[in-house]
């Protein structure tokens, strides 16, 4: 068991990569690429489940660590590990992978080898981002995660793939240039890329604070574009409306949000604290802005994109509220969003495959024709808008209550308006697509309801939504072990809000 624990993370990274190579080598016949990809993703899901099962919630710090030299000069280490924050994210990536393969099963008909190879490489890159503890290794996976996405958007774009792909790539690639300079600057000062070492060094305050401010800002900028935070969201709507469903589903949001807490707040707590008011403001604007724009979209992928901006802004709000409850809630909400989005992408993808349209106006009255699809869609919608007993509620509640108690009542109230708007655009979407009179499109096309493969993947996802809504402590217990303040040595650094939240009742038990 010890041997497994010491190598499991490497396996989780390597299995999708090996699958990608295998897909590339095998011939494109008899749906062989699909099956190999499905098997690979299932194996990596099983491997990733090893982590929470053997995760010791009594310990703080990183577990399943591997730390071996990779490149001598500069001193880059293959240093990976997970803590309470990242352990479930790795599982989430593992869970979304087979879902993505099933979604693409019928949707991707051409060049399946390239599609599944790149899809699997994307898995490797994403897991890598979540487990890398060496800044260069992290940067490597971070950049790598752009490439398959950009290529696949270009290859399978609905209307203007290359343009959307270029937009996506440049939006996320250019901010990573300052990130790299910042990482190099840190290395030049310390001679280390190691996250744990750097966290200690920076907390001892041996850095010129002026330069450190810019370094922290470079980190934040790269992450904020990826989330995306309000004024930097230009790429998301195009990406969602062009990208293959499976890719949009696995990529959205998680990477940037995780990186914010781990590498921005985690490495530069004082600097993050200094910009927190700005981010709180931007997050609330993003919540309302995204929700308002979602209300007026005619294309459901674009609607979803703006809905996602709104939802991720909630999480950003919680991250920069600097409360433990908020952080735990934020990470729980990242998981929730991942699961909910998987379902909603799958369902909308199924709709597009059946009716060949992404215009909401062309739908109507589908509930009678595809009742199972409609049922699942309604359940997912309810989870998304935060109905109690479903998972969206728990995360949203933690985020809003922590903001209300620990940050500012005004911002919390403003953000809550976003919840109402969220219910409005989602329910209106349901109404327009599934109820009302049957549209010409719905009458023309032969309707066939969800099929076995889709049901087989949707049912567990929906059950998971319910379980995560009823028994959140299963997850929150683990997440809490990762939520702690990075060491701060200066005197006035403990923000008042944190003192407030350390009292019992901060996190519901």
């Amino acid at each position: 068991m010890e041997a497994i624990n010491q190598s499991i993370l490497t396996w989780i990274i390597l299995v999708p990569l090996a699958g990608a190579v295998l897909v590339a080598l095998l011939p494109d016949r008899y749906k062989l690429p699909n099956w190999v990809a499905l098997l690979t993703t299932l194996v990596s899901l099983l491997l990733s489940l090893h982590l929470p099962v053997h995760f010791n919630a009594a310990l703080r710090g990183f577990q399943f660590e591997i730390n071996t030299p990779w490149i001598e000069n500069p001193a880059i280490f293959y240093h990976v590990g997970v803590d309470g924050l990242s352990v479930w994210l790795v599982v989430l990536v593992g869970l979304l992978a087979p879902v993505g393969v099933i979604v693409s099963w019928n949707a991707i008909r051409e060049r399946r080898k390239i599609f599944y190879s790149l899809f699997l490489i994307q898995q490797t890159a994403m897991v890598g981002v979540f487990i890398a503890l060496d800044l260069m290794l992290y940067y490597g996976f971070w950049e790598l995660s752009l490439v398959p996405m950009a290529i696949l958007i270009a290859m399978y774009g609905r209307k203007d793939g290359p343009k959307a792909a270029l937009k996506f790539f440049l939006y996320t690639f250019i901010p990573s240039a300052p990130l790299l300079v910042a990482i190099l600057w840190i290395y030049a000062r310390t001679g280390s890329f190691d996250f744990v070492t750097l966290q200690l060094l920076i907390s001892h305050g041996n850095f010129p604070s002026g330069a450190l401010f810019w370094v922290a800002l470079a980190f934040l900028f790269a992450f904020a574009v990826k989330v995306p935070v309000f004024p930097l969201h230009g790429w998301l709507a195009d990406t969602f409306s062009e990208a293959p469903v499976a890719m949009a589903m696995v990529v959205a949001g998680k990477l940037g949000l995780y990186s914010m807490l781990r590498f921005h707040i985690g490495l530069f707590p004082s600097q993050a604290r200094a910009v927190a008011p700005w981010l709180i403001g931007l997050a609330v604007i993003g919540i309302l802005y995204g929700a308002c724009l979602a209300l007026v979209q005619r294309n459901y992928w674009r609607l979803l994109a703006y809905a996602v901006i709104s939802h991720f802004s909630f999480i950003t709000l919680a991250l920069y509220g600097f409360t433990f409850t908020g952080w735990a809630g934020a990470f729980y909400q990242i998981l929730n969003q991942g699961v909910i989005e998987a379902a909603i992408f799958l369902l909308l993808g199924a709709l597009e495959l059946r009716y060949g349209s992404t215009e909401i106006g062309q739908f109507g009255g589908l509930a009678a024709k595809v009742p199972r699809l409609a049922t699942f869609f309604v359940i997912t919608t309810l989870a998304m808008i935060g109905l109690p007993l479903l998972n969206g509620f728990v995360g949203e509640f933690l985020i809003l209550s922590s903001t209300f108690n620990g940050v500012s009542r005004g911002w919390a109230v403003a953000a809550t308006v976003g919840v109402i708007l969220g219910a409005a655009y989602m329910l209106w979407l349901v109404q327009r697509i599934f109820y009302g009179g049957e549209s010409p499109l719905a009458m023309q096309r032969p309707a066939h309801d969800l099929q076995f493969g889709e049901l087989a993947i949707l049912t567990p996802v929906v059950v998971l939504m319910l379980v995560m809504g009823v028994a959140p402590m299963q997850w929150l217990n683990t997440i809490q072990t990762g939520v702690h303040l990075p060491p701060i040595h200066s005197t006035n650094a403990l923000p008042p809000s944190i003192l407030q939240i350390t009292s019992p009742g901060g996190i519901p038990r």
């Binding site: 490149i71 390239i114 490597g140 950009a150 290529i151 270029l166 690639f173 240039a177 190099l184 600057w185």
Partner: protein, 501 residues
């Protein structure tokens, strides 16, 4: 210690020369009907032998031969291996892409090999006149190769432009050498290095530095001496461009390193700012011009100008760090650039039937292998991690930051953001579904054994440099440490050796 026979010091060059002569003689004696393709294999085998001979030279003690005109050291071996590797890949590529009935196929292989002789000799020469001769050997071969498509208008145009401008540049270099001789009374690089700091005619040395820089920067196609590059790359056959854009540049960079770091390190305060400006100009002009290109080869030509700029950023690095970074960059750049031109050669063919970016649309659907490889090499040229391009840029800009040129690093990274724009335009066009699938598109050339090996070598090198760069970096570092003037044995002058630690 027994002295090393002089011939061992130039063993790779000797092997290459014999191979070239053999190829030419066989070509002349064979009947017209006989296929010339086997000659390419002879050349490839000769080049492989030369590569092994270079590696074997590592076991020789570091030192010079032929009256201190050529040197063998880890520095020369590093560049010999690199050049032989590039030439080998280019030969393998030519084997399958050169039309069988084409004009003077045998001479083609011989010229490539003779060019390699010059390039190898250039990296090993420590006597400025030998440097000049080596440069001429390599240049004349490449002038001919550039104009190999005589029947097209662009072929001769490319060759003539290259030849005229190249001769000019060589003239500059020769003037520089003459002035060096005037100032110091010698053309032996070690002696120049010892004498130059105390030379009477300091102005001569400065002028010589300037003239030699012009000559060498022309060869590496750095701005503002880059104007020939797009025309020549467009006119020359793609397999030749794969060679032209890498091997002579590699050799010229080796020469630049030798001249600046070994011969004139005392003038660092003069040449460092000059190269700073040239680096910024090359990156910016190269990238901005590439953004506007519709022709793939012209775009890649401007991209290679930009890469020369990234590489020159390493010269802001101090001493061996800068040398090692530059040496590593040449390796990474050569691997990915040979690769990308190999793909272009296969897709558009010897005759450049598909020259435009729009013609590459849907490549990944027509030919998944070529499409994927093109994407891979372009991703490496952008500088995404886990490819050679990333570590090349990484070390180059680290060296610049280490040498205090933080602004240069920031300009460089912003430039690589710009470069993503045009690399991706090509990559995404290739990934896109062809909007007019019924267009008559010439089928891509078949991937034979030789081309397969060439692509495999380029891909493997790019990946290895991106994932496990340590070994190459070690070689580059030991190369950097040997690039210095050996201590004077019986020098009458007690000049302090102006060597960086």
């Amino acid at each position: 210690m027994t002295p090393v026979p002089d011939i061992y010091r130039i063993l790779p060059e000797v092997i290459l020369t014999l191979t070239g002569v053999a190829v030419m003689l066989i070509d002349a004696t064979l009947g017209h009907a006989f296929p010339r393709r086997p000659l390419g294999w002879v050349a490839a085998i000769g080049t492989t032998l030369a590569l092994w001979a270079s590696l074997w030279q590592l076991s020789l003690p570091v030192g010079t031969g032929f009256y201190s005109t050529v040197e063998t050291s880890p520095f020369t071996v590093f560049f010999h291996v690199l050049i032989c590797g590039i030439v080998l890949v280019a030969l393998l590529l030519t084997l399958d892409t050169l039309p069988e009935d084409s004009h003077h196929q045998g001479e083609f292989y011989a010229l490539i090999v003779f060019g390699a002789v010059g390039m190898c000799l250039l990296t090993g020469a420590v006597e400025l006149l030998v440097v000049f001769i080596a440069l001429e050997i390599s240049s004349i071969s490449t002038y001919v190769l550039a104009g190999y498509r005589k029947d097209t208008g662009r072929g001769p145009e490319a060759a003539i432009k290259y030849f005229l401008l190249g001769s000019f540049a060589t003239g500059f270099l020769l003037y520089g050498i003459a002035l060096i001789f005037g100032a110091t009374g010698t053309t032996q690089i070690y002696d120049v290095a010892r004498l130059a700091p105390t030379a009477q005619n300091h102005a001569f040395v400065l002028a010589a530095l300037g003239l030699m820089l012009v000559g060498i920067l022309f060869k590496v196609s750095a701005a503002p001496f880059h104007v020939w590059t797009p025309d020549v790359y467009e006119g020359a056959p793609s397999p030749v461009v794969a060679l032209l854009s890498t091997a002579p540049k590699t050799a010229a960079f080796a020469l630049l390193l030798r001249v600046l770091y070994e011969m004139l390190p005392s003038l660092r305060s003069v040449w460092a700012p000059l190269l700073w400006i040239v680096a910024v100009l090359s990156m910016t002009i190269g990238n901005l011009a590439a953004l506007r290109q519709q022709n793939v080869k012209r775009m890649l030509a401007y991209s290679s100008i930009a890469h020369a700029g990234y590489l020159l950023a390493a010269f802001a690095g101090l001493g061996s760090i800068g040398i090692a970074a530059a040496a590593f960059y040449t390796a990474a750049y050569s691997a990915m650039n040979v690769g990308v031109f190999a793909v272009v050669a296969l897709v558009s063919g010897y005759d450049d039937k598909l020259p435009l970016i729009d013609d590459f649309r849907g490549l990944i659907y027509r030919s998944p292998l070529m499409g994927s490889l093109l994407l891979f090499f372009l991703v490496s040229l952008v500088g995404i991690p886990f490819t050679g391009g990333f570590f090349g840029k990484f070390y180059s800009f680290s060296a610049a930051v280490g040498g205090g040129a933080i602004a240069l690093a920031i300009i460089g990274l912003l430039n690589s953001g710009i470069s993503a724009g045009y690399y991706l335009r090509l990559a995404l066009a290739a990934a896109q579904r062809d909007p007019q699938p019924d267009r008559a598109i010439a089928p891509s050339s078949q991937v034979g054994v030789a081309v397969g090996a060439a692509l495999l070598l380029a891909t493997a090198a790019t990946l290895v440099l991106g994932i496990v760069p340590s070994a190459t970096l070690h070689s580059a570092e030991s190369a950097a440490h040997t690039l210095q003037v050996p201590p004077p044995e019986a020098a009458p002058l007690s000049v302090e050796a102006p060597i960086h630690p």
